[in-house]
Symmetry: C2
Subunit: 222 residues, 2 copies
C-alpha cells in the first residue's frame, strides 16, 4: 500500500520538478547563462574540478558556483576563497538537488551576469541522475579508484550525462582500472557521451576539459 | 504541497520499515544468525571486503551474502564463484535497501544455517543510512581516495555505524588523506565507533577486521 502511494507521490513530484526545471532552463537561456550540473560519487573530485575550472576560464568567462551538501559549507568556502562567487545549499538530508533547490541557489547568488554557473550536486551516483535540475549540460566524474565496473551498477547516471570525466588518472599505475573496458561499457549506455581523462591533482588533461567547456559556452551563446 | 505529502508518506514508510526490521532482527537472533549491513560509496571496496571475509572466516563460521545493486549481478557472481552462498537483489532504481528487500533476500537464500549474513547495500553514502535493514551490526567503508572530509558531508552514515573500515590504505602514499583528522571528525559524530585501517588489495589490517568480526559473532551467539 505505502509503496503504491509513494510511487504516485513521486510521479507528481517529478512532473512538478520537470516543469520548474524547464522554466529555469528557459530563463537562463534568455540571459545567455549556461547552467552545468556536476555529479559524481562522494570524493571523486567535483570541488577540485571546479577549482581547476575557475583557473581555466579566468579572463574568458564569468563563473558562478552553487554548492550542495547535506550538511556542510566546506566546499563553498573553498570556492569563495579561490575567488569565485559561490553559494552553499544545505539539502538537510536530501540525497539530490531538484529544480526548486537550484532556484534557491540562483536567487542567492548576488551577482547575476554569469556566462556559466556550475552546480555541484550531492555526492551520489544514484538519486541526482533522476532529477532534472534545469541544467543545460550534465557532466559526471568517475574517479579511477572507484573501478571500471560502475556503468554496470549505476547505468542511469552514465545515460543522462553529456560528458564523463575520468579523474584521478594519476592513480592508474596503482590500479587495475581498464579504461578501454570502461569506455565500452559507457558507450553501450550512451553512444553520444564525450569521455575525457583528467587528473585534477597533476593537471593532466585539464586543458581538454577547458577546451570542451569553452566551446560549449560559445555555442550556447550563439 | 507535494513536499508535505512526500514527508507524510515517507514517515509512514519509515514506521512500517522499522517494524519489519525489528521482526527480522528478532527472528535471526532466535536462529543465532548475525546480520551485518555493509555500506559505502560506490567503489570503496565492499565486494573485495566480502571476498577477504570469506577467506578469513573459512573453517570457523558459515557465511551467506545478500548483494544489492540497482541493476547488475556482477557482485553476487563474484561471491558465488569464490564459494559462498549469495543472492543478488536488483533494487530497480532504488537507492538503498529496506527491510522488505532484505526479507526477500533472506527468503531467497536456499541454505538456512548461517552464523553470519552480510548484506552489501547499494553504493551510496546518503540513503542507506536512513533505512533500518534489520541488521544487528552496521559497518561502513570509507576509502582513502574519497578524502578525509567525508564525515563533514555525510554525518548520518558515520553516526549509525558500529565500525568504520578505512580501506585502500595502499593509496596513502599518493594522497593527502589525514587519518588523524578523519578519526577526530568521526569520533565527534560517533564516540563509540570502532575504526580500523585496511587494504583489501594488499591484505594489510584484514586480520584486525576478522578478529573484530569473530568476536562479535561469538558474543552474539552467547
Amino acid at each position: 500500500m505505502a509503496g503504491v502511494k509513494l510511487i504516485e507521490v513521486k510521479e507528481e513530484i517529478m512532473a512538478d520538478n520537470a516543469k520548474q526545471a524547464e522554466t529555469i532552463r528557459g530563463e537562463l537561456h534568455g540571459k545567455k547563462t549556461m547552467l552545468l550540473n556536476l555529479m559524481s560519487s562522494p570524493g571523486s573530485g567535483k570541488t577540485s574540478l571546479i577549482l581547476r575550472t575557475m583557473d581555466g576560464l579566468k579572463g574568458s568567462f564569468n563563473l558562478g558556483v552553487i554548492e550542495a551538501d547535506i550538511d556542510s559549507t566546506v566546499d563553498a568556502e573553498k570556492v569563495v576563497a579561490a575567488g569565485a562567487p559561490a553559494v552553499q545549499l544545505k539539502t538537510g538530508g536530501f540525497c539530490h538537488l531538484d529544480a526548486t533547490m537550484v532556484r534557491q541557489g540562483l536567487d542567492a547568488l548576488t551577482e547575476k551576469n554569469f556566462d556559466l554557473i556550475i552546480i555541484e550536486n550531492v555526492g551520489n551516483l544514484v538519486c541526482p541522475a533522476e532529477f532534472d535540475t534545469g541544467a543545460h549540460k550534465n557532466v559526471m566524474i568517475l574517479s579511477v579508484p572507484e573501478g571500471d565496473d560502475k556503468p554496470l551498477k549505476y547505468p542511469l547516471m552514465f545515460s543522462v550525462c553529456d560528458l564523463l570525466l575520468i579523474n584521478k588518472t594519476d592513480y592508474l599505475a596503482l590500479s587495475d582500472f581498464d579504461i578501454n573496458a570502461l569506455r565500452k561499457r559507457v558507450l553501450v549506455l550512451n553512444p553520444k557521451i564525450v569521455i575525457l581523462e583528467i587528473s585534477c591533482k597533476t593537471g593532466a588533461g585539464i586543458d581538454d576539459w577547458i577546451d570542451w567547456l569553452k566551446k560549449e559556452i560559445e555555442d550556447f551563446k550563439k
